[in-house]
Amino acid sequence: MALPLSKPSKRRSSKSSWHSSWLSRIIILTLLILGGVFYHFSTVMNKLTLQKQELITQITQEKHQQHILQAEWSYLARPDRLYALKKQFFKNLSPALPQHIQSLDAFSQQTKQS
C-alpha cells in the first residue's frame, strides 16, 4: 500500500481524501500503539537483561566463594588433623571394635528382653 507520505506530489492532490480515510488513521494509530508496546517491551527486556547479568555475576561469585569454602573445609577436616585433635581432646576415644557394632534388629531384641 502506497502511503501518501511517499509521494508528496499526489499527497497535495488527495489531501482531503487522505484526511478522511479511516484506514490510514487506524494504521497510524496501530503503528503508534505498536511502537509504544515495542518500546515498553524493549525497556523491560533491557531491565531483565541487566537483572540476569547481575544474577549471573552473583552466582559466579557465590560459586567462587563455595569453591574456596569447600577447599578450606577439606583442609580443616583432613583426617590427620582430626586425629591430632582426637589425641589432644579425646584421649580415651578408640576405634570401633566388632563388639561395639550391632544390627538394629539385634538391638531391638535386646531392648525387648531387658
Binding site: H67, A71, S74, R78, P79, I101
Partner: protein, 575 residues
C-alpha cells in the same frame, strides 16, 4: 543591555538628524549580519564540543575500564578431583601476587614505607633494595589476600602490577600423593592422575570423582607408617580393592611426598612402589600355584606330597622355612607355606600350564590401572623347569603389588580377573577368566581361612570379620652379590574379607623390615605384615559397612570346612 542602549542612541540620532536614516539602516543591517555570523560560529563550536563529549562518553561506556595497574594471568584453572564421598583432593584456587617495575617508581623510600604498612611481614630494607634495582620487574609479595590487594590498589601507583595465578592445591597433603601426582608451574599434569587426565581436567569443569575413600586411605596410611617405623622398614605398600569391580578404595606407597611441594621431597619418595615397582614377592604365589593345580585338575586338597627332603632342580636346592616330616596335604602345603610342596605341584602340571594361567592372572603384562606410573613385569625369556619351580613360590618372576592384589581379588571373588580402576564411572566388566571351575574359588577361600586359623597368618585373625589370607616373605635380589640378601626381606600378606563372600582384597607389603623389640625373633610376614593387616581390617571394616558375624556360625563353618581335614575350625569365643 548594551545593545538596547545602542538602539536607543540610534533612535535619538535618527530623530535629531533624519537625513541619515538611509545610511543608518544600511549600517544596522550590517551589524545584524555580523552578530548572526558570530552566533552561528558559537553554535558550531558548542556543537563540536558536544560531539566530543558524546564520543568520549560512548568510548568510556563501551570500552573496558582502564586501570592504572596492569594485571596478567598465569596458568588456567583445572577441574577438582574428589574422593568417592565428595571430599576435595585437588583443587585450583585463584591467587594474586604483587610485582613492581622499579623504573617507574618516583620515590622508592615513600613507596617502601607505604608497602610495609600493608605487608608488615616483609622487611623495609628488602623492599627498598628491590625498588631501587635497575630492572623492570621485581616480585614484592606472592599470594595476596583480597584486603591486601585492595589496599595496594588504593595506593594508586602505576608501577605496581598484579599477577593472577591458579596454583593447584592438595588439601590432603601427602595422603593421596602417589595417586594424584602433581602439576608443573604451567599447570600441566606431570605425574599420577593429574597427568593421565590432564586434558580432561584442563578443558572440563566437572570434577573427576575417584573410587578412593579418604577415611580408609588415612587409616591404612597411618597404620602402615606406624609399622614401617616400628619395624624400621625402608618403605611399605598397601592396596585395598573391591573384588567385584576392581575399584581401588585405597592405595598407599611409603615413603610419599607432599604434592603441594614435590620439589622438596627426595627423588626416591616420588617412586610409586605399589604400581611402578616390580618385585619377586615370594610365597604369595602359592595361592596362584595351588589354584592353577586345582583348576587344571592335577591335584585335590587331599593329595599328599613328600616334603621331608630338600628338592634338587638343576643348580637350585629348594628348602622349607618350616620343615615338615613325611608327606603333607595340599592344605598343609598352603598353611605351612612349603616351597618343596609348591614346587612338586608346579612340576605336576608343567611349565606351559603355569605360563598359561599366569598370563591370564595378568602377570605378563603391565597393569591397566589408569595412572601413568605402571611397572612392566620382569618375565624370564626362557621358561625352564627350574623357572617353573621357582615361580611356584614367587621367585624368578617380578610383578607389582597391584598385579598381585588384582589376581587375588579375581581368584577369591568369581574366578574372573578384575580391571583395576581409580575413577568412578569407568569400571570395566570382567572379561578375562582366570579359573575354569568356580568350585576352585571356594577351595581357595577355605585354604586362606585355614591359613589364618592354623597357618602362618595366625596373628591376622579378626574372627568377627572372617579374614582369610596368605603370607609371603621374599629375600631381596642383589645385583652386586648375584644372589639374594638373606636379611633384606620383602614381607607381605594378601588377604580377603569376609572370606565366605569376599568384598575386599587387601595387600600389605613391608620393604626390608628389621628385627626390633616388637619382633625380636623374626622379620617375616607373619611377624610384620600379618599383625598390620589385623589392625587395618579391624578399623576399616565398620567404615566399609561390613557387619561383624560369628565365626562359629554353622552355615559358615559348613561352607569353610575342608572335607576330611583334621584341624578344628571352631574359634573359642575368648580369643
Amino acid at each position: 543591555m548594551k545593545h538596547r542602549l545602542w538602539l536607543l542612541k540610534e533612535r535619538i540620532q535618527d530623530f535629531l538628524f533624519p537625513s541619515d536614516i538611509a545610511t543608518k539602516q544600511q549600517s544596522l543591517t550590517g551589524h545584524i549580519e555580523t552578530h548572526h555570523n558570530r552566533l552561528t560560529m558559537i553554535a558550531v563550536m558548542l556543537m563540536f564540543g558536544f560531539i566530543i563529549i558524546v564520543i568520549t562518553l560512548l568510548r568510556l561506556s563501551l570500552t573496558t575500564p582502564h586501570s592504572i595497574h596492569t594485571t596478567t594471568t598465569k596458568g588456567v584453572p583445572r577441574a577438582d578431583i574428589l574422593d568417592r564421598n565428595g571430599v576435595v583432593l585437588a583443587t585450583t584456587l585463584q591467587t594474586v601476587s604483587l610485582a613492581v617495575n622499579p623504573k617507574k617508581i618516583i620515590n622508592p623510600i615513600q613507596t617502601a614505607q607505604n608497602l610495609i604498612k600493608i605487608f608488615p611481614s616483609l622487611s623495609l630494607d628488602d623492599i627498598k633494595d628491590d625498588l631501587t634495582k635497575h630492572t623492570s620487574f621485581v616480585w614484592i609479595k606472592r599470594d595476596l589476600t583480597p584486603e591486601q590487594q585492595e589496599k595496594t590498589i588504593l595506593l594508586g601507583n602505576p608501577a605496581f602490577s598484579f599477577i593472577k595465578a591458579y596454583p593447584r592445591v592438595y588439601p590432603q597433603g601427602n595422603l593421596f600423593s602417589h595417586i594424584l601426582g602433581f602439576t608443573n608451574i604451567d599447570g600441566r599434569g606431570i605425574a599420577g592422575l593429574e597427568k593421565q587426565y590432564d586434558k580432561q581436567l584442563r578443558t572440563q569443569k566437572n570434577p573427576l570423582k575417584l573410587t578412593v575413600d579418604s577415611r580408609i586411605q588415612f587409616i591404612i596410611r597411618h597404620l602402615l607408617k606406624k609399622s614401617v617405623d616400628r619395624f624400621k622398614a625402608q618403605g611399605g605398600v598397601a592396596i585395598l580393592m573391591d573384588v567385584k569391580n576392581g575399584d581401588i578404595i585405597s592405595l598407599v606407597s611409603l615413603p610419599d611426598f607432599d604434592p603441594n611441594h614435590p620439589d622438596l621431597s627426595p627423588a626416591q619418595n616420588l617412586f610409586n612402589q605399589a604400581t611402578l615397582g616390580v618385585y619377586e614377592l615370594g610365597s604369595i604365589f602359592k595361592i596362584f600355584t595351588i589354584s592353577t593345580g586345582l583348576d587344571h585338575q592335577d591335584i585335590t586338597l587331599k593329595d599328599k606330597f613328600d616334603v621331608s627332603k630338600p628338592l634338587h632342580i638343576g643348580r637350585f636346592v629348594i628348602h622349607d622355612d618350616i620343615p615338615q616330616k613325611g608327606s603333607i596335604s595340599v592344605a598343609d602345603i598352603f598353611s605351612y607355606s612349603s616351597n618343596i610342596g609348591a614346587s612338586q605341584i608346579a612340576l605336576k602340571y608343567g611349565a606351559e600350564v603355569q605360563k598359561d594361567y599366569f598370563k591370564r592372572m595378568g602377570f605378563f603384562d603391565p597393569s591397566p590401572l589408569n595412572i601413568p606410573e605402571i611397572g612392566t613385569p620382569l618375565v624370564p625369556h626362557r621358561w625352564s623347569t627350574a623357572r617353573t619351580v621357582t615361580a611356584s613360590y614367587g621367585y624368578g618372576l617380578a610383578v607389582s603389588p597391584l598385579q598381585v592384589v588384582t589376581a587375588v581379588a579375581g581368584i577369591v571373588s568369581d574366578g574372573m580377573l578384575p580391571v583395576p580402576n581409580l575413577v568412578m564411572g569407568q569400571e570395566h566388566h570382567k572379561e578375562t577368566p582366570i579359573l575354569h571351575h568356580t568350585s576352585v574359588v571356594q577351595k581357595i577361600r577355605q585354604l586362606m581361612y585355614l591359613n589364618v586359623l592354623h597357618g602362618t597368618a595366625k596373628s591376622s585373625n579378626v574372627p568377627a570379620y572372617r579374614v582369610g589370607g596368605k603370607t609371603g616373605t621374599a629375600e631381596k635380589a642383589s645385583h652386586q652379590e648375584k644372589g639374594y640378601h638373606v636379611h633384606r626381606l620383602i614381607s607381605s600378606f594378601a588377604s580377603a574379607f569376609p572370606i565366605d563372600h569376599p568384598r575386599y582384597a587387601l595387600y600389605v607389603l613391608l620393604q626390608g623390615p628389621q628385627k626390633t623389640k616388637y619382633n625380636p625373633y623374626s622379620a617375616t610376614a607373619a611377624a610384620t605384615a600379618v599383625p598390620l593387616t589385623k589392625k587395618i581390617v579391624t578399623q576399616i571394616a565398620p567404615l566399609l559397612h561390613i557387619m561383624p558375624q560369628s565365626p562359629n556360625d554353622p552355615s559358615f563353618l559348613k561352607y569353610i570346612r575342608i572335607p576330611l581335614y583334621p584341624k578344628k575350625l571352631y574359634i573359642d569365643s575368648k580369643r
